[in-house]
C-alpha cells in the first residue's frame, strides 16, 4: 500500500511552512546588530571593554562617545575612551581603505561613587538618585536588598549594546541560521543514507520494514544540498562572513588583517579546495542515494539475491567513503568557522548528532504513520530496536562531546581552549542545558525496556532530543559566526519551523511514490516475524 499524501496533510504542511516563514520575516525585519564587546585586562587589576566593528556603521565615533558618556554618567560611571585604530595605524601601512570601516576602542569604566572600587555601582538610573543619599557604610546593607546589581563593567557593556545597536545590513544571523538549518536537515538525510548503507553492508534483517521510511528521508538530500550551496555561494561571494578564512585580507601579508595561522593553511582553507571537496561530497552522497533508491525499487519488481548482493557491496563502499567524507565535510563546513581551532574527533561528534537526529526522526515518523494505519507490519520489537539505537547513539554523542571537552580541558593549551572559552562565555547556559538534556533525559527515561517500546515516551523524549540536537548544531555554528549576538527569537524559530515543514513535505512526497513495504528483500519474511 502506498502512502496517500492527501490534500489535507499537504494543506497542514503549507500552513506550518507559511507560519514559519511569517515568523522568519518578522525576525528578519527586526534583526538588530550591535558592536562587538570583549572584556580585556589592561593593567594589573584594571579591566577595559574592547569595542570593535569592521563594517560601515550608521553612526560616527564622536556620536558614539557622546551617547555612551551621557548614558554612563546617568548610571554613575565615568568612562575613559581610547581609540585603538590610531595606535594601530602607526604600526601598519598599506591598509588605508579598511580603516574607514574600522571601529576599535578601549573603554575603561570608573565608578563615580567608589573610585577604583569595583562591584558597588548601581546600574539603574532611577535607583541611582537614592544611592547618592546613602553613606558608604550603608551601601553593603543596601546591596543585600536592592536585587540585581551590576559591576561598572557589566553596566558599561549593557550601555554599549544599547547605544551601539543598529539594523544589521549584513544579516549575519539570517545567514548563520540558514547554515544551521540547511546542515541539520541535510544531516538527517545523510544519517538515513548512512543507516541504510550500514544495514546493507551488515546484511541486517531487523530493519527491513524501515527501509522505505529511510529512503523517504534520503529524498531530502538533493533539496538540502541546494540550501547548503546557497550558503556556500553566499560565503564565497562575500555576501556573508560565516567563514572568516574566505576573506582574502587574512591571506595577504601586506594587510593589517594578515593571519599567519590561516595563511599557513592556505591549501586547505582556500576557495578552490572548498568547492572541489563540495563537488565530491555532493556527488558521492547524491549518487549513492540515487543508486540505493533505484535498486530498492528494482528489487520490488525482480526479486532474487543479485540486487541484494550488489547493495551489500555498494553499502560497504559507501561506508568507507562516508568515513572519510563525513569527517572532512564537518571540518570544512562547520569546524572551519572557528578557523584557528581544530579537533580530530570533531567529525565523529558531528556525525553522532546527525545519526541520532535521523534515528529520532525515523521513530517519530513511524509513530505518526502507524497512527494513520499504514505501518501495521511494524511491531513492538521493531520499535524497540530503533529505540535502542536512539538510546545508544545518545551516549555516543555524549561520549564524543565529553572526550573532546576533557582532552582540551586537561591539556589547557591556548590554541585549543579558545573554542570552549567562546562557548563558556556567551553560550554557557544554552551549552550546558543541551549537554544535560541530551545526556540525562535518555539515560534516565529511556533505560528500561518498556520505555523503548512505549509510544508516548518515545514521542515526548524524541521531540525534546530532536530540538536539542538542533540547538547543538546551533552552538557549533553560532559562536564563530555571530559571536555574542546570538538569540533564539522569531528569526531562529521561524526558520526552523519553515525548514521542518519543507523537510516533512519532501519526505512524505517521496514516501508516497513507492509501496510502504518492500517486496522480495531476502530478509523480509524473517523481519516480519521479528521478535526480541
Amino acid at each position: 500500500m502506498n502512502f496517500q499524501f492527501t490534500s489535507k496533510i499537504k494543506r497542514n504542511l503549507f500552513i506550518i511552512i507559511a507560519a514559519g516563514l511569517a515568523m522568519f520575516v518578522v525576525g528578519f525585519l527586526t534583526e538588530k546588530n550591535h558592536l562587538y564587546t570583549e572584556i580585556h585586562s589592561v593593567h594589573e587589576g584594571e579591566e577595559g571593554l574592547l569595542v570593535e566593528y569592521y563594517k560601515e556603521l550608521p553612526f560616527t565615533k564622536v556620536k558614539f562617545v557622546e551617547d555612551v558618556t551621557v548614558a554612563a554618567t546617568e548610571a554613575g560611571i565615568s568612562v575613559d575612551f581610547s581609540d585603538l585604530i590610531e595606535l594601530h595605524k602607526d604600526d601598519h601601512h598599506g591598509s588605508q581603505h579598511h580603516d574607514d570601516f574600522e571601529f576599535k576602542m578601549l573603554l575603561t569604566p570608573h565608578s563615580l561613587e567608589t573610585e577604583g572600587e569595583h562591584g558597588h555601582s548601581e546600574a539603574h538610573g532611577d535607583a541611582h538618585a537614592e544611592d547618592h543619599g546613602d553613606s558608604h557604610a550603608e551601601e553593603g546593607g543596601h546591596d543585600a536588598h536592592a536585587g540585581v546589581h551590576h559591576t561598572p563593567m557589566e553596566t558599561l557593556e549593557h550601555i554599549v549594546h544599547e547605544v551601539g545597536s543598529f539594523n544589521d545590513t549584513g544579516h549575519a544571523r539570517t545567514w548563520s541560521n540558514l547554515l544551521v538549518n540547511a546542515f541539520f536537515f541535510f544531516g538527517i538525510g545523510l544519517g538515513a543514507l548512512f543507516f541504510i548503507a550500514l544495514q546493507y553492508a551488515t546484511e541486517s534483517g531487523w530493519g527491513v520494514v524501515y527501509k522505505r521510511i529511510l529512503e523517504a528521508i534520503i529524498g531530502w538530500l538533493p533539496i538540502g544540498a541546494i540550501f547548503l550551496i546557497i550558503v556556500f555561494v553566499g560565503a564565497s561571494m562575500h555576501w556573508n562572513h560565516i567563514y572568516h578564512w574566505m576573506d582574502p585580507e587574512v591571506h595577504n601579508p601586506e594587510s593589517a588583517h594578515f593571519d599567519i595561522i590561516i595563511a599557513n593553511k592556505k591549501p586547505f582553507l582556500s576557495q578552490w579546495f572548498f568547492w572541489l571537496m563540495n563537488a565530491v561530497y555532493f556527488a558521492v552522497f547524491l549518487l549513492f542515494a540515487r543508486g540505493f533508491r533505484k535498486r530498492s525499487l528494482q528489487e520490488d519488481l525482480e526479486g532474487g539475491t543479485k540486487i541484494h548482493m550488489k547493495n551489500f557491496a555498494k553499502g560497504a563502499l559507501f561506508l568507507v567513503l562516508f568515513g572519510y567524507l563525513s569527517s572532512a565535510m564537518s571540518w570544512q563546513w562547520v569546524m572551519s568557522i572557528d578557523t584557528h581551532w581544530f579537533s580530530t574527533l570533531y567529525g565523529w561528534y558531528v556525525f553522532s548528532g546527525i545519526w541520532l537526529s535521523a534515528t529520532i526522526f525515523i521513530l517519530l515518523l513511524t509513530f505518526w504513520l502507524k497512527g494513520l494505519g499504514y505501518l501495521d507490519f511494524i511491531n513492538e520489537s521493531h520499535i524497540h530496536d530503533m529505540g535502542k539505537w536512539m538510546f545508544a547513539i545518545s551516549f555516543l554523542w555524549t561520549y564524543l562531546f565529553f572526550s573532546q571537552f576533557m582532552l582540551i580541558w586537561y591539556a589547557n593549551i591556548p590554541e585549543e581552549v579558545t573554542y570552549y572559552l567562546d562557548r563558556f562565555g556567551d553560550y554557557k547556559w544554552i551549552l550546558w542545558t543541551t549537554v544535560a538534556v541530551n545526556f540525562v533525559i535518555p539515560i534516565i527515561l529511556l533505560m528500561s525496556r518498556e520505555a523503548k517500546r512505549s509510544k508516548n515516551t518515545i514521542i515526548i523524549i524524541g521531540s525534546i532530543l530532536f530540538v536539542f540536537h538542533w540547538v547543538d548544531v546551533f552552538i557549533l555554528v553560532m559562536p564563530g559566526s555571530v559571536f555574542d549576538h546570538w538569540a533564539i527569537g522569531f528569526l531562529e524559530v521561524g526558520m526552523f519551523v519553515a525548514f521542518l515543514g519543507m523537510f516533512i513535505y519532501t519526505v512524505l512526497n517521496t514516501l508516497s511514490k513507492a509501496p510502504m513495504l518492500v517486496k522480495n528483500h531476502p530478509y523480509l519474511d524473517e523481519n516480519l516475524h521479528h521478535h526480541t
Binding site: 565529553f402 571537552f405 576533557m406 580541558w409 586537561y410 591539556a411 589547557n412 533505560m447 528500561s448 525496556r449 521478535h531 526480541t532
Partner: protein, 177 residues
C-alpha cells in the same frame, strides 16, 4: 502423590516451540526448557517472567559509581591533595572532568561483574556446580521440555504423556521425584 517429571525431547527448536504452543493452549504449564541456544519467542509462550537482572545490574552500576566517587574524593582531594593537570584547585567538582573516565570505568566494572556473578549464582551454574540439565545432549543439538505433574493437576500423568506424544518429539523420558 509422587511428583512425576516428563522430559520431552525435540531435535528442532521450531518443533519444540510449536509443541509448547499446543500444550500451553490446553492449559498445561511447561516448567522448563533446556536448549543449547536461546529460542526466540519461547519466554512469551511458556510464560517465563521477565528477568530482573537489568535492575540488579543498574544497582551494581550505581554502587560502582558511588564507590568510585567516594574513593577518588578521599584519595585525591581529602587524604593527599593532588595537583591535577596543573589545576591545583583541590576541589572535586572543579576537577570533575578528570574523574569521569574512572567513574565510568568503575561503574561498568561493577555492573558487569555483579551481573555476571548474580547470573551464575541465580542459575546455579557457577564453575564446578553439578549440571541441572536432564540430558547432556541439550548442550549440543537437542531440546528438552520439562513438565511436572504436580503443576498440572487437572490432567493425569497418562493424559499428559499422550498429549506430549502428539507433538513432534523424538524421545520421551519420565522421572519420579
Amino acid at each position: 502423590m509422587a511428583d512425576k517429571i516428563i522430559y520431552a525431547m525435540y531435535d528442532d527448536d521450531d518443533k519444540l516451540l510449536d509443541g509448547a504452543r499446543m500444550l500451553v493452549s490446553k492449559g498445561i504449564h511447561v516448567n522448563e526448557v533446556f536448549s543449547p541456544m536461546p529460542i526466540h519467542g519461547l519466554d512469551d509462550v511458556i510464560g517465563v517472567r521477565h528477568t530482573r537482572l537489568g535492575i540488579a545490574s543498574f544497582l551494581y552500576g550505581l554502587t560502582g559509581l558511588m564507590l568510585a566517587t567516594l574513593g577518588m574524593k578521599y584519595f585525591m582531594i581529602d587524604d593527599w591533595m593532588m595537583n591535577i593537570g596543573g589545576k591545583p584547585s583541590f576541589s572535586y567538582l572543579e576537577n570533575l572532568p578528570a574523574f569521569i573516565p574512572i567513574t565510568f570505568e568503575f561503574t561498568v566494572l561493577c555492573a558487569a561483574h555483579g551481573m555476571a556473578i548474580t547470573y551464575l549464582l541465580r542459575n546455579k551454574t557457577l564453575p564446578g556446580m553439578p549440571a541441572s540439565n536432564p540430558d547432556p545432549r541439550t548442550t549440543d543439538d537437542m531440546f528438552v521440555m520439562e513438565i511436572r505433574t504436580a503443576e498440572n493437576t487437572k490432567y493425569s500423568a497418562d493424559e499428559l504423556q499422550s498429549m506430549v506424544k502428539s507433538t513432534a518429539i523424538v524421545e520421551l523420558d519420565e522421572k519420579t521425584v
